[in-house]
Symmetry: C2
Subunit: 489 residues, 2 copies
């Protein structure tokens, strides 16, 4: 933290406002400034703890009173590990319970215990915020189920498992942005509100000002046209491939589907990338596989404690499954081969596998198992089941497009992508066929001014987190899940 | 780019899919793989250009035909600079015009020209996508106004100025994430859809499934309750300060206001941060000032060419104004002092400055000028004009709260923040007073389980870009602007 060292990372001292401002302004402020102090993860990592005076702030995770001494465990969200506080009996610890917020001054010393490097010998303890553990829905030393803690969206960050999840999610976001930046992609904020209404990616949410909804202005719209929450940033990224060779976006997308499965949310995050001058699905798949592997490897090495909690208590065996996925090359099957494998299997499916129909989750899971429980690319889907923008392979008799899905163990579809139809004549006739010609006039125009072969994909961020951590329910990997009948907070 | 070097950044070779997969799978793919090749910015930076064979892809920015030789300038979005291609007269360049997409193989050599380090002696040129310059709304060598190019949201990335803007925006996002990560903040995705409807931050967009809107199910809702697009992630970040000491979010926020000013959008991006164990506004302001200065300094050093384009052609004098902002400490005024300054000025205001009323843009601009055209913090606003969560200063006779706005030259309000009321009794009585007690029961509960003094702020990302680049209209710093009567694409 910068305040401890008196200056901000990489910032020349002359820019540090608190040292420069100082005089005069102070009268305006109440309260003390949050200077000095150590975070718990910093205290735990202190290699030369020799009794230096420090201050630590956080929440009490346990209180163990002995005759002469009380031990407190303190957590401040900086890591899964707690800092042990050793408090002599003459210190006032009245009111300090599981869940209270405290501030502690003391001496940081080497710990006699093997499990932790340092501990804090308290000189002074201040109760910052009390907590009545009787009313708190989480109980000390109890391991609550993910389902149970999900009922308390405003408090669940106080549990070990959910604070670990949030740290992993934050680190995963960092890793994804770094991956693209390191590989020369430009980050684009695709719009959330859009007037595109017919991409066929599922049911849409429509928006209007709250006041207007109430007054029922039926034929007027805030934006003059009906407007919706985005289902994908792809078309907007395609705009950018008119001037950039590689772009990506990472933001919220929406589906108004009345589904309550463990893999669906009404609001979820997608990572989408688009590559210009790309003539082979292979290039797209290479980015998908590398994104998966490099991001995962980053998370495993930067959040090892947090990931271990999931792999140990939530999904035993997941660690080994992850290693399998990382060390092997992802498999590749054509859609036609996939259907063939499904038809030849002895498995009884609810939906009969048939050329020309979409793969169901049961089919996806079978294919992944069939390939040895590692991720599988399925390529070249039937022309008729993919959206208008997928590039025509012009093959026959089985007419396909250059589309790809990535299926992963335990989840099914994690990514979907395709080459996009860059040939104006083919695009025009398909749009006409589908009655979309007027709506996508601008999209056609992209093919008239220096059009290039291009393609891209989208990865469901929550499904990705489910996949690497082994979390069953998608609602447990997002801070505030939204699904039909539920929009808490 | 990774494909050129045959392996991905930081990735062991054994993970590289294209080298491992190879056999067998190839039959599935059409088209050639996008292997080898150099980006324009890489080609320009090549210090040891001695005729090595390379391939470059991009769009033609100019064609200059001489008797023996044709010069092409190629841009691929990797930088503002173009790569000069030298084409002998025996090469086929039929159909290659301003705007076409091309692929060129040749030898990279030192350039005889001062302005560029390298140029490409072409051996082969392929027209990838033609362009009829007559139909393209942008003309070669013409400098179009921002207002003009704004009419073509699907094509404007093809202009120098807008591709520079997009690179700067991408780099600014990176800088902001780095700032928070380097300083120990955890990144939280605050929800976009929320059931909070009364924060008083402006008019809301309401959402329902498109099918439901049409069918006019009046008293049922997809989420069972009315739901809206977020105006701020603050309350959700406050949830997280129950377990993390520093959190932030960076995402889209929305206002359904019918305003068409140069500073307002219906969809815009906010950076919001929240700090636990914070008892002074000063700590919040320190983060605001450092975020501004460090991010700006990062952009200036990583996007110097792109920024220079704005400072030279769009906003002359902006460079010097930026330097002023960066090298001086931001000023601090209390709201009461600010009103006093405004009342004593000889300026004629449209709105009379009066204690107890909000500052208008004209007031904000006057205060910034009064302080020497550097950013100014205004602190301690009247209790009655700030939202319920602002912390009561319990002063009198002029009752204020610990809130702060940051005003910047040319823009006015860039950031707003406050300490939050962490004292349960004061919060409860205020919520009761405002009739919000039932809605914010969960928010009250945050104050019952280890509540800590905390505070935070939000920064308008587009206004920030306007401020550093000197761009007059907010619609010119976002890829796809949404405002009343307009939602193109």
């Amino acid at each position: 933290m910068w305040t401890r060292k008196g200056r901000l990372l990489g910032l020349p001292l002359t820019w540090c406002p608190s040292t420069l401002r100082g005089k005069g302004g102070d009268g305006l402020f109440k309260g003390r400034s949050n200077k000095s102090g150590l975070k718990v993860n910093e205290a735990l990592l202190e290699t030369a703890a020799k009794g230096q005076e420090v201050r630590v702030q956080g929440w009490v995770r346990s209180v163990r009173a002995q005759k002469e001494i009380t031990f407190l465990n303190i957590n401040d969200g900086s890591s899964l590990q707690n800092l042990q506080i050793v408090a002599r009996s003459d210190l006032n610890i009245r009111g300090i319970t599981f869940g209270s917020a405290v501030e502690i001054w003391g001496k940081l010393v080497q710990s006699p215990h093997k499990k932790q490097r340092t501990e804090l010998l308290a000189d002074k303890i201040r109760l910052v915020g009390a907590c009545n553990p009787v009313n708190l829905p989480f109980k000390i030393k109890e391991r609550h189920s993910l389902e149970y803690i999900r009922q308390f969206p405003h408090l669940r960050c106080k549990t070990n498992v959910f604070s670990s999840l949030l740290r992993i999610r934050s680190e995963a976001s960092t890793a994804i942005h770094s991956f693209f930046k390191n590989n020369g992609f430009v980050h684009i904020h695709a719009p959330i509100i859009t007037s595109n209404d017919c991409e066929g990616a599922g049911e849409l949410f429509q928006i209007e000002p709250a006041s207007r909804t109430a007054e029922k202005h039926e034929n007027t719209h805030f934006f003059d046209v009906p407007s919706f929450l985005t289902v994908s940033g792809q078309l907007h990224l395609e705009v950018m491939t008119g001037a950039f060779t590689q772009v990506y976006t990472f933001g919220p997308t929406f589906r108004a589907e009345n589904s309550q499965t463990r893999r669906h949310l009404a609001e979820f995050y997608m990572v989408e990338a688009e590559l210009a001058f790309t003539e082979s699905l292979k290039d797209i798949m290479e980015v998908m596989e590398n994104l998966f592997k490099i991001t995962t490897s980053h998370i495993l090495s930067n959040c090892s404690d947090d990931v271990e909690l999931f792999h140990k208590y939530i999904a035993p065996g997941q660690k080994e499954r992850m290693e399998q996925m990382l060390k092997n090359s992802f498999q590749v099957l054509s859609y036609t081969e996939a259907i063939d494998i499904l038809q030849r299997s002895t498995e009884i499916f609810k939906f009969e596998p048939k050329w020309g129909c979409d793969l169901q989750t049961e089919h996806e899971n079978y294919l992944v198992q069939h390939c040895g429980n590692i991720p599988v690319f399925v390529v070249n889907y039937p022309y008729d089941i993919k959206p208008f923008y997928a590039r025509d392979n012009q093959d026959h008799p089985q007419h396909t497009v250059a589309a790809v899905d990535l299926l992963v163990p335990g989840i099914g579809e994690l990514c979907g992508g395709s080459l996009r139809e860059e040939r104006l004549d083919l695009l025009q006739s398909r749009l006409k066929e589908l009655g979309l010609k007027d709506t996508y006039h601008w999209y056609e125009e992209l093919r008239q001014f220096g059009s290039v072969p291009h393609g891209g994909f989208g990865l469901g961020f929550e499904r990705y987190l489910q996949c690497i951590l082994g979390v069953e329910n998608i609602k447990d990997v997002i801070p505030f899940p939204r699904f039909s009948h539920s929009c808490l907070l």
